[in-house]
């Protein structure tokens, strides 16, 4: 999945000579947390977050705050800006979020701002990947970390005429020579296919954890 498939294209921006007051109003109006700062050519020259603004804005108890609110935002914006390209993989952006501990990257093509990806978009993508938006049953299967295992496991569902809604894979935390495959399958009655697996080398983990 690419950044262009998950990014928001409608981006709210300001220019460097806008004021802190402008930024406060834009953040509140659109319920957003980040504003890319652009020049006339739509090049991204900085970015501000709601936290930058909060650090700069005067205390709510201070009434003589007009001067601070009129400060141009180029004084508080972060620069240079880490950006992504529309054709980047979405997991590369996830890794930026994780490593750099921030939650938003502008998306740039030919030096022009074309979109924005936030942590929320990223989480939504991961939720979609786990497939819970269509009626299904989840089963988890412990399989040896070997060639051909996934296709062989999938065949059990095909034989029972059951559609696979989603599948993902993670290493078994207890034994690195095994993986856990997590399927969401479109059936209310997984018993026949679970029965089929009983005669195989694959172990169904779900959800026999009553103790």
């Amino acid at each position: 999945m690419l950044v262009k498939d998950i990014m928001k294209k409608d981006v709210h921006t300001l220019m460097s000579n806008h004021t802190i007051l402008d930024a406060i109003q834009l953040l509140e109006l659109h319920h957003i947390r980040h504003i890319p700062i652009v020049n006339e050519q739509q090049h991204v020259i900085g970015i501000i977050s709601d936290r930058d603004v909060r650090d700069a804005r005067p205390s709510i108890f201070d009434e003589n705050n007009n001067e601070i609110l009129a400060t141009p935002i180029h004084k508080i914006m972060s620069t240079p800006v880490i950006t992504a390209h529309p054709n980047d993989f979405f997991e590369e952006v996830a890794s930026i979020f994780y490593k750099k501990s921030f939650a938003c990257v502008p998306v740039i093509k030919n030096n022009q701002l074309v979109g924005i990806v936030t942590e929320k978009d990223m989480l939504h993508t991961f939720i979609q990947l786990t497939g819970t938006d269509s009626p299904s049953t989840q089963i988890e299967i412990k399989v040896p970390d070997q060639i051909g295992v996934l296709s062989e496991v999938c065949h059990y569902f095909t034989k029972r005429n059951i559609k696979i809604v989603s599948v993902y894979n993670y290493p078994d935390p207890k034994d690195s020579s095994y993986n856990i495959l997590v399927f969401r399958i479109q059936t209310m009655n997984p018993m026949p296919v679970i029965e089929d697996f009983k005669d195989s080398e694959y172990q169904i983990l779900y959800p026999y954890w009553e103790d």
Binding site: P135, T137, Q138, M188, E210, D211
Partner: protein, 383 residues
Amino acid sequence: MNSNDSVFIYSDAFLNYSFHEDHPFNQNRLVLTKDLLIKHNALTSKQIIEPKMISEDILSTIHETNYIQAVKKASSNEAVDVVKYGIGTNDTPKFSNMFQASLQTVSGSIEACKQVLEGKATHAMNLAGGLHHGFPNRASGFCIFNDIALSIQYIRDHYNLRVLYIDTDAHHGDGVQHCFYDDPNVCTISFHETGRYLYPGTGKTNERGIKEGFGYAFNFPLDAFTEDESFMEVFQNAIEKVTDYFQPDIIVSQHGVDAHFLDPLTHLHSTTYIFEEIPSIIHRLAHQYCNGKWVALGGGGYDIWRVVPRAWSQLWQVMNGNKPFTGDLSQAWLQKWQPLAPVQLPHSWQDQKTDYKEIPRRGEITETNQRMYKQVLRFIEIN
């Protein structure tokens, strides 16, 4: 009219809703239940009402035309788009005359509504109905037409009553919730095993309705291996609060009995106890808020020998204002059915818990469920 006049909707044609012999959804449970009640002198022929077959026009009040057409085609064994309509899958395979059989089931539930709405009975029960997974445009989870949604829509269209829908099937009542998700006059409340593993996966605490219907959908996802005590704690607290908040004119309830520990498809691990308590509470609420108006429907229940006949008989017993049956099951009933049953039938109304395994994580599960229902109910407290 006695304040507890109840009718039992039944037709042998209900048995035609049958996918194939090995399918877990098996309407022979209706025959077993009816016979058990008759053997205990708890059901008279005067109470049994044969439903009138309704016109298929009613289907389009909930279902899309192309889906209704697809069911008709599948019914006469023509090919239909499996992925689009959900017919021909592992869960809802085609069977001949499936259209007529499904319409018959719907007729039963509409008849139950009519009996109550026209004042012929205070309560009515159609155990063949309760197919809560049916969607406007596709079949899902053993359900073809959604007789519940059609019934509620019928009540809304003809009587403009505020409908409280209570769903205690172990699976989330997703189809019914979907149909009335934006409707403030229909409050849906579903108690089910969490969708973390179990079908259909929905029914999370944050599903609360949309637009005008926001605040009129409630979901109580219970942990797997919840057992009786915690189930009833959640049910009792939640249903009292929600009913008081919504002030319904009529209750429609779905009585899936697949939360039982012997049920092969789920893991809520209850006993027959909850199938005595749930109807008792609903019965009381129907009299307290709705002048008794209550339509009870069937639902899931896949141990058709050991669980469903007893659980549904208790529903009927309680609906008639009686205390639940206790003691031994009718010898005549056991003698008639034991030779046909693939399992040893229970001999008493209440579970003896011989096969029952206590759950070591009970404390933890109870606490999780408490946190869950309090979180859902906070909405009512702040509004």
